[in-house]
Point group: none
Chain length 198, copies 4
Amino acid sequence: MQLLEHLPLIGGMDDSPRGRVLRAAAYLFHEQGYARTTVRELAQIVGIQSGSLFHHFKTKDDILCAVMEEAIIYNLAQMKLAIEVGQTAAERLKGLIRAELESINGNTSNAMAVLVYEWNAISRAQQEPLLAMRQEYETLWLNVLEDLKQQGHVHHDTFIWRRLISGATFGTALWYKPNGRISLEELTEITLAMALGQ
Amino acid sequence: MQLLEHLPLIGGMDDSPRGRVLRAAAYLFHEQGYARTTVRELAQIVGIQSGSLFHHFKTKDDILCAVMEEAIIYNLAQMKLAIEVGQTAAERLKGLIRAELESINGNTSNAMAVLVYEWNAISRAQQEPLLAMRQEYETLWLNVLEDLKQQGHVHHDTFIWRRLISGATFGTALWYKPNGRISLEELTEITLAMALGQ
Amino acid sequence: MQLLEHLPLIGGMDDSPRGRVLRAAAYLFHEQGYARTTVRELAQIVGIQSGSLFHHFKTKDDILCAVMEEAIIYNLAQMKLAIEVGQTAAERLKGLIRAELESINGNTSNAMAVLVYEWNAISRAQQEPLLAMRQEYETLWLNVLEDLKQQGHVHHDTFIWRRLISGATFGTALWYKPNGRISLEELTEITLAMALGQ
Amino acid sequence: MQLLEHLPLIGGMDDSPRGRVLRAAAYLFHEQGYARTTVRELAQIVGIQSGSLFHHFKTKDDILCAVMEEAIIYNLAQMKLAIEVGQTAAERLKGLIRAELESINGNTSNAMAVLVYEWNAISRAQQEPLLAMRQEYETLWLNVLEDLKQQGHVHHDTFIWRRLISGATFGTALWYKPNGRISLEELTEITLAMALGQ
DNA sequence: CATGAATGAGGCTTCATTCAT
DNA sequence: AATGAATGAAGCCTCATTCAT
């Protein structure tokens, strides 16, 4: 199956057997849902036998967790980078929006969608380490929004405001087409306008 | 199981056997996911045997579709009501936002979440009639946003703008607590501010 | 498969579906070992589909436990009966030996063999209730042997003596043929002689 | 894993790779059962990779057979030694009992238990050579018992009598603790008393 | 309409064995 | 000899659906 070749290489998902499994898993879990994807399908796309999957991961569940972990680790790194680069608070906000939109619609789109849609498929214990990273991730946003609020560019509760922006950006997964009518840069601009009340 | 008593009665989900199944299904499909919910669990909450479910619905799939249909029919009606009541475009927008937030966080919250999260679990053929209703639903929004754009209150592509607002409102399902720190009215106000660029 | 018809009906293993499963399980688990017996084989002998087994027992393990439980419950009852009937200590000893030999070589032979051979296949928690019954069972023996010791017919530590007798009787499972050269009555006599040092 | 160091070196099981595998196998097959022991576990205790086991033995089955063979060869030798040393029939009987108890509870205990418990796990063809040795082994016993019968110390069918004694000695595997309340010498005395009807 | 035992396809996982390195 | 990734058959178990009562 050559489909695997077209699946994006992201973050920690290199071309090792493990990485190939994760790429395929992100794709299938997003496309069909975790529960509706069989380990045999997954193995077939990777080009191995289903039993071989279990040399790399102990259970199907572990594969799901690994996908989510890769997604969040990679994107947290992107978020930090955006913060470092921006000179002003507004620039940093734009950087965060841009990075988040890219996470959601770029190479990590499958993994990010899995992270959101299949969140309830993993146990509380498995959620915990991911929640810790998410906490860090969200703190970056809140800090920037607080700065902007003090500068008079944001007028509402920053937690609520962030959640609304977050909904707007994550929602793009449901409709935005990377090669469609509007570029990711334009989408970033519009979202930034909404976030800054323009 | 007395849990069923606490599940909200909405729209077409009356206290008939069929309505009771749909209420329980909306709850379970949201809480656990469609695939992870067994018909036995569902039957148990309804208080019947699993075999009896199939006197009311031909397949488990049909139950899912019915839940989605109830959700969308009811909410389309709410949306139309909001439009009729509003005197100005801004009022109509607020009405739509308020109605959408209520759909997502009120009595129909389970069914709405199922509609979003389990969309891919139903076949293309089953999606079609729901898509038609959604089309109508979205047209209401676009008309209002077009009016606001002509009045100079919206400055961007209305389709994109609506999708961002939609993300923001639907995203509330993931964090908003009906009896929490902020009321639905306040949430409506803040969302409206974001939609109008304030 | 008509084999099932030839398997003995014992104690609680009536002709209900559950009883039929237990009879077949005792037979197969003894003949082939628990681990080497598949649920499909078992189902085939019972005359049902493998999935149907799990309406009667939650796991394959539970079937094993149930077989063991039936064996021990039934045989404890037999042992008590033997005690009640015997007038003298020597008669009671003979009754116990006879009952034990019948347990091991009669209708419950499969279940008894499973109890001994597959003991380690069940968890500590599953062993516990069975151990309690075994305790009661062994106390019956020790009481009789103590009586005999006081009467001067047994000259050694009764616990050790019982264990040696137990080995001798349980060991018959490996060689005694119910319809062979020597009857169960004769075997009882010889074993009694050994137990009384004659 | 240093556990291997504590496992007894017996008969042909020297410290060669082959011997190390057999020692570990006897231990694990006894402790967990043959079917429940994986080659991976076995390899881990030996300190090699599972694939490497198959340089020493063609199949897992072969390992089981080799364990059994070592046990029976070694113990046959012990039995012969006991016969040679004993001056009278009673002394020879005591020697046999002592040797058998040592086989069952001493260094070869694991292998002996495997021989008994896993007998049905090997094929008829694999049993055959072992049965021949067992035949020889049992003949030693029967000869001694015949002598004792002619001397008036045994009053029953010697085959049956031997089987009962065999049950008593092999049964010790289930309860006797080498460092417990009673020594192997004392156990030998009591068993001899039972065998001689005292 | 309701029941609930039975179905049987299909899911995840295990594991002895192989083989290129 | 040793490795360890890969195999693939086979195992246990689940569950939507059916149907005789």
